[in-house]
């Protein structure tokens, strides 16, 4: 494949970056004008449209999308498979949600910078989803991080009483994010040292060879620990969670929503792609590590959330707890990796992807709601600010109630199916007893019990929000000047949460297909170029020389 084909594969991202540049530069020429959110939304529509046209008109793309003959198109550092296609479509949708959420509040600050950064973040996420190369993964993650710093700082805005704490939040996030990037890069360097290549497929080929070199084992383990630490910051998994409550509390509501959703998507996509799939032979360490992290993360997140009065801090701890739930699926994915029979019965990765979608909808919706309820100069800060919302804004109160019930995991809503999938995955380990997963079931049974207990704990603080909204007299009427876009995003999320809850089949099937595709892509040995065997052959040849 030539470089022009790589450019063709990256067309949606290129159009996103083009629109971001346009918004930046045009915004510098017309500083007084507003309405850049419409241009940003148009840019996302164009990117989504290009993706749809590629899928529909290109026969190879269509085949990949339907899971037929070529499972993946690999062109150098990027790969197009079902996993990346579906992730990109989802991410563009999430981007549209955030353009809607910020549509009004952005106009109070530097709107062009805010919208341009948002588009860059979305394109960065897409790059992570389609990366087949450690360097491209890192590039994508930085394309998410660096505009996020700008966004957090620009969002500090002209409201005097918030300016100082928002700048503090931006600085805190900047330093910790830089640290996590450095740790991640250090992990990548070990992976490169072991395999001699930055291509994920080559890394897989080298690590999956049975080798008696102790170095390969040792260094790939080290790499995994560092990569987990680096991505753990983005996932807000304990012990890398500590910045989240401070940063969320300090920043504005739409920014906090962005931080709660976008880095988590990046982390899960990168973890599925790099660690669970491309690093075979580490299942033992992998499931133990993620299992321990899942235990600690969800328990700590849920327990500390019980005491929070600030709504963003509450949601920060809630997002930490949900990171713990997502780690359950990854742990199951490790435990059954390399075991076709077991991975069919207990698809942990698929459950994690489904949970990620459900969580993103409910969380983005909640932040959309509290953004909508705020207004110029006065935003919703504490849970008490929502008191009596059922009288003053019954629709918003109902939507928030739907999100809270979904995050708790109550049956008619999407969150229930998320937890259901994770638990059936965890209990399905060992069900068909492939040799690898023998004797692991007590651990996963314990994990399931802890998860259920945690869900019960989390109900306490989610229901507290609902009780404040419905059973307390209103202290003051929220301004509700967050804009039509935020209200629309709120209703859209609520409708989707209910729809997925009532009819979860298609979404579950799609997440399962995504996880299957991620596994198969890396295992596919019949690419025309850069196939792992060719690579191994050249490597041995050069070793003999």
């Amino acid at each position: 494949m030539t470089s022009s084909e790589t450019i063709y594969l990256l067309l949606p991202e290129a159009s996103l970056i083009l629109f971001a540049t346009l918004i930046f530069v045009a915004g510098a020429f017309y500083p007084a004008r507003t309405g850049w959110n419409l241009l940003a939304a148009f840019g996302l529509l164009v990117a989504g449209g290009v993706l749809c046209i590629q899928i529909n008109s290109n026969p190879v793309y269509s085949a990949v999308f339907r899971g037929q003959a070529p499972l993946a198109i690999v062109s150098g550092p990027v790969v197009v498979d079902l996993f990346s296609l579906a992730s990109r479509a989802l991410v563009i949708g999430v981007g549209m949600l955030f353009v809607m959420i910020t549509s009004r509040t952005a106009a109070e600050t530097q709107e062009p910078e805010l919208m341009g950064s948002l588009l860059l973040i979305i394109s960065g996420l897409n790059v992570v989803a389609m990366a087949n190369d450690l360097v491209v993964v890192f590039l994508g993650l930085e394309l998410v991080s660096i505009p996020t710093y700008v966004l957090l700082f620009v969002g500090s805005g002209h409201v005097e009483r918030y300016a100082a704490q928002r700048q503090e939040a931006a600085t805190k996030y900047f330093f910790l994010s830089v640290l996590s990037s450095a740790v991640l890069l250090y992990g990548f360097s070990f992976l490169y040292g072991v395999s001699g290549s930055t291509r994920l497929t080559d890394v897989f080929a080298v690590i999956s060879q049975p080798s008696d070199e102790r170095g390969t084992q040792l260094f790939s383990r080290l790499a995994m620990v560092f990569i987990f630490a680096g991505l753990g910051f983005r996932l807000t998994a304990v012990p890398f969670h500590f910045y989240a409550p401070d940063v969320y509390q300090g920043t504005s509501n739409p920014n906090a929503g962005l931080l709660a959703v976008i880095p988590k998507i990046a982390a899960v996509v990168a973890l599925v792609r790099i660690v669970v799939v491309a690093m075979p032979g580490l299942e033992q360490v992998g499931w133990q590590l993620t299992l321990a992290m899942a235990f600690v993360t969800m328990t700590l997140g849920n327990l500390v959330a019980l005491w929070q009065a600030n709504i963003r801090r509450l949601l920060a701890y809630s997002s930490i707890a949900h990171a713990g739930y997502m780690l359950i699926g990854l742990s199951v994915g490790f435990a059954v990796a390399g075991d076709e029979l077991a991975s069919a019965s207990a698809d942990g990765m698929g459950a994690t992807i489904f949970y990620l979608i459900v969580y993103s909808l409910a969380t983005a919706g909640t932040f959309a709601a509290i953004t909508y309820l705020g207004g110029a100069g006065r935003q919703i800060d504490t849970v008490e600010d929502l008191a009596g919302l059922s009288q003053t804004h019954p629709q918003a109160a109902f939507a928030i109630a739907v999100f809270m019930f979904s995050l708790t995991g109550l049956p008619p809503l999407a969150g229930f199916w998320g937890k259901f999938g994770l638990l059936t995955g965890a209990l399905g380990v060992d069900a068909k007893s492939g040799g690898l997963t023998d004797g692991l079931w007590p651990w996963f049974l314990m994990l399931s019990v802890v998860t259920v207990v945690n869900a019960a704990i989390s109900a306490a603080y989610y229901l507290r929000v609902i009780s404040v909204m419905y059973f307390r007299p209103a202290l003051s009427t929220p301004l509700a000047q967050g804009g039509v876009g935020a209200a629309l995003a709120m209703f859209l999320c609520a409708a989707l949460v209910v729809a997925v809850g009532v009819y979860p089949g298609p979404m579950q099937e799609a997440s399962r297909a995504m996880s299957r595709s991620a596994r198969q892509t890396i295992d596919e040995r019949d690419w025309a170029e850069n196939s792992p065997q060719d690579f191994l052959a050249t490597r041995h040849r050069s070793a003999e020389d």
Partner: protein, 131 residues
């Protein structure tokens, strides 16, 4: 492990050499300290004040604007060398690694255009005005 033995030896040798020379210099070299001798740059500018002082944050913007031109040079220089060298772009084209010379040229033009846009953005935002 065998592969890294030369590097280990190199590190050891350089450490011993550097440390030893410093030690020897201190041991047998003449040491006549004086006001001029102890200046940071013995033969350079006379220092006018302490180095640890605050300076204007606006210099930071200058440093960032410099990055545009620096990165430009970083990528244009290898391209310029490779386009004239018979083992550069021509060899890559005939080996089928890249499409054509025109494609590479177009990529460079796009790159310069992007940097120029960055420059225009900085200009409009008033980075080059000392406010």
């Amino acid at each position: 492990m065998q592969l890294f033995l030369p590097i280990l030896m190199f590190v050891a040798a350089s450490t011993v050499l550097a440390g030893g020379l410093l030690f020897l210099g201190g041991l047998i070299g003449p040491s006549r300290a004086g006001k001029v001798k102890e200046m940071p740059y013995e033969s350079g500018m006379d220092p006018i004040h302490d180095t640890r002082r605050r300076f204007d944050v606006r210099f930071h913007l200058v440093a960032i604007a410099f990055l545009i031109f620096d990165v430009e040079l970083l990528f244009l220089y290898p391209w310029a060398v490779a386009s004239r060298n018979p083992q550069g772009i021509d060899a890559a084209v005939s080996a089928g690694l890249i499409g054509s010379r025109g494609l590479v040229f177009a990529e460079v033009i796009v790159f310069i255009a992007l940097l120029a846009l960055g420059f225009v953005y900085a200009l409009r935002k008033g980075v080059f005005q000392w406010r």
